[in-house]
Structures are given as C-alpha cells and as structure tokens.
Subunit: 211 residues, 2 copies
DNA sequence: TTATGTGAAAAGGTTCACAGCC
DNA sequence: GGCTGTGAACCTTTTCACATAA
C-alpha cells in the first residue's frame, strides 16, 4: 500500500502523542483533540487514521491504547536496522546523545571519521573507524543506513562509499549539500540552515504561516 | 507577493549553488544543469526562477552573477535579526558552532538555559542567561527569533516566555514536540527523529522515493 | 446528540509542451 | 539549434460536507 509522505510524518507525531496520552492514563481521544494538540485539522486526522481501517467509534472517539497499537504497527519496521554515523563532530555527537535515537528499531553501531584522533576511539560506546574503511566495515557490520554529519564537500563521497558494495538502503543527510543517489537509495536531507532561511523569508514577508 | 514554501526552499539551494559557481568563475548556467546538480526537473527550476521576472536569456541560459544577485535579493531580509538560542546542550552547542549560522542576516546574541553551571558563562562568545529572565532579556536585547534546542517538555514554555511581551516573531524548534503558537508567530519545526522514522517507513516498504 | 469515515470539491504543486527569443 | 518563460494539464494533498453508527 502506498502512503503519502505527509501522512507518514503525521503518523509519527500521532504515535508520540498517543504514547504520552497512554502513559497519562487517557482512555479516549477525539480527532479534534488530536488535531488541536498537534496543529492539524480534525478532518485531516480522521483521513490519516481511517486510511488503514476503521479504528474509531462513531459518536465516541478513538480508544487511545488501541489506536496507539494500530499506529505503531503501521510504522514499525519488520526488523532492527544497523546504522552508521559518519562525521563525529559536534553535530554527530549531539545526535549520538539524542534521546530520539534510542530506539529498539535501529541502533547506531559504528562511527566513521577522518581524524586520527577519533579513529580507534569509542564515543558513547560506539567504535570509530576511518572513512577509508567504510565499504568493508559497512558490509562486515551489516549496516544499511547512514547518518551523515559531515562537512558539505564530504557528503557525496560518503554516499559513494556506502553504495560501493551496494548494501546501503537509506541515508539521512544533515550536511548542507545535495547528494546524487542511485535509484533505489532513499535519501532524506535535513538542512538546518535552509530551515532558518525559510523562516527569515516569511518573517520578512510578514506572513502568517505556522507549521 | 505570495511564494510557496517549496519554492523558497529551492531558492535557498539555488543561491548556495550559484554562490559556489560564481566563486568557481562559471559565467553561464542552464536550468537543466542546475536541476541535475540539485535533483530537480529543469522545468521546475525555470518556473521558480521566472517567478520574480525574466532573468535568463533564451537560447543561452542564466548569467550566474546576475542570477545570484537576483535570488539573493529575493531572499535577503531587509535588516539583521537578533536571535536567541534556548537550551545550551550538545545540540545547542553544535548549532552555535555551525557554519550555516554565520551570516550577516542574523546573529545569535544570547543564550538561555536552566542550569546554574551554564547561566553567567559565555559559550562561543555569547552570554548565557537564565530561562526565567527571558521575557526581560529578549526585550532588552531586541531579540525577535528563538532557536529551541530544549527537551520536549520545555518547548512550549519557551514559546510562551517568548511571546509574553509579544516581540518574538519566529521560532525554529528542534525539540521533538509540537508547540501551540499564537496567530502571527511563525514556527518551523525540525524534528530529527521524525525524519529518521520516515526513512525507516519507506525502507520497510521498499519504496524508490528519493528526496 | 456526538464524532467517525469518506466521497467530492478545492487547493496546492509539479510537469508538460510549445511559443518566443537568442 | 538551443534554452527560457508560461499557460494548461496533471498529480497530490487538504478540506468540506454529510451519511453513518454509537
């Protein structure tokens, strides 16, 4: 089944909210309540949630516990993924320490860098290897996802090294540059400075958008 | 004039590319070349660039120098903005040190945190104040933009503190939570874990998307 | 009465195709 | 011939409106 990207993005947020509601012992929630808390229209929430079957009760709302399980099932990968992080700078370390990256669905198992001071060391319990050894290490450690926190000129080389033996399936690119990827490789880019520039643009133009 | 958000996002990338081309002494570039380098269709590039007037030469392409000035004019804010960063943790420090945040259009002039060890210190040359003093300090220092690198439970309080005296116009939220903002306040959220979750979802579904 | 589920309509963006100019 | 500019077509996503069920 094909799911639109904006829908997936909202599903992740629904799960996070439902998880909190569940811990707070909330039993029932309506599409309007969900929408108000996350900044979406109630009709949008209903469309998203009904996409995978009727899960709510008309006249009542959604059972939090049941809906949480349902959304989690939709989002959960069938197995755990091994992740490699390239570029152990400040941003890389921040991500390593990031709570969001504590999950049972993926695990950062190896780090890569070019600095002699970092190669051979461990950071937050993960070993750091040299970028030149990436093709072999990725294969050896069964790594299929790369997180890139490298300078802009290095991003493309990292993607190339990751696809050399063909096992990398996804890349999360935090460097301020676009990368060219072979078909089949999924690349998501989070460009921090672009976000700030967009904000400045709409500030300048006195817009009223809120995302 | 109303400009679509995806267009602004691409404009920022065009400028970055043109800046590099200009430094490399490239004089002329076509919409196809731009598109190939950034992963957009040539027709998309032309639509974006023609949106603000005819700037290219038919049969020739775009003059890099002229186009760069043009795109910069569209994006440049009319004045410099003062920015406050809340939450001097690893991510906050990574952003402080981020090259993308070196700009003549904005400057991080103050930091805020709750930790006694950080309040009163300076980080990368910026003074750190207590979060409780935000309303006064923001007004005093003429800060209109906030960057939030705080834990999820603190994000909403920061927005509330920033809007208490009404001067905050934009927020860039890096915390993994949604915030409710009064109308007129522009909030952009960069949710690192959501991006990874999206990637995992499409990996699971063996899609062929590339963004 | 209340809140979901869902076709249909509207809005928002992208791509096409070709006229127009170099 | 080559490449831009752009209306029209197309596709995607959101919102509406109301039938339906608790």
């Amino acid at each position: 089944m094909k799911v639109a990207e904006p829908t997936v993005e909202r599903l992740v947020q629904y799960r996070r909210l439902l998880d909190r509601m569940d811990r707070d012992k909330v039993q029932v929630i309506s599409s309007k309540e969900i929408g108000d808390m996350l900044g979406f229209k109630a009709s949008q929430v209903r469309k998203d949630l009904s996409y995978f079957g009727e899960i709510g009760k008309r006249g009542v709302g959604y059972n939090v516990d049941r809906l949480l399980k349902h959304v989690s099932d939709i989002l959960s990968p069938p197995r755990k993924w091994n992740v490699g992080l390239v570029g152990v700078g400040r941003l890389g370390e921040a991500l390593l320490d990031h709570k969001a990256f504590l999950s049972d669905k993926y695990e950062i198992v190896a780090l890569f860098d070019v600095s002699d001071e970092k190669v051979g060391e461990t950071f937050f319990g993960r070993p750091c290897f040299h970028v030149d050894d990436m093709p072999e290490k990725l294969e050896e450690m069964d790594i299929e996802i790369l997180i890139l926190t490298v300078p802009k000129d290095a991003a493309q080389r990292c993607v190339d090294a990751g696809t050399e033996k063909g096992q990398i399936k996804g890349v999360l690119n935090f460097s301020p540059s676009s990368v060219v990827a072979p078909p089949g490789l999924i690349v998501y880019s989070v460009d921090i400075s672009v976000e700030l520039e967009k904000l400045l643009f709409y500030l300048k133009h006195e817009g009223t958008e809120s995302i």
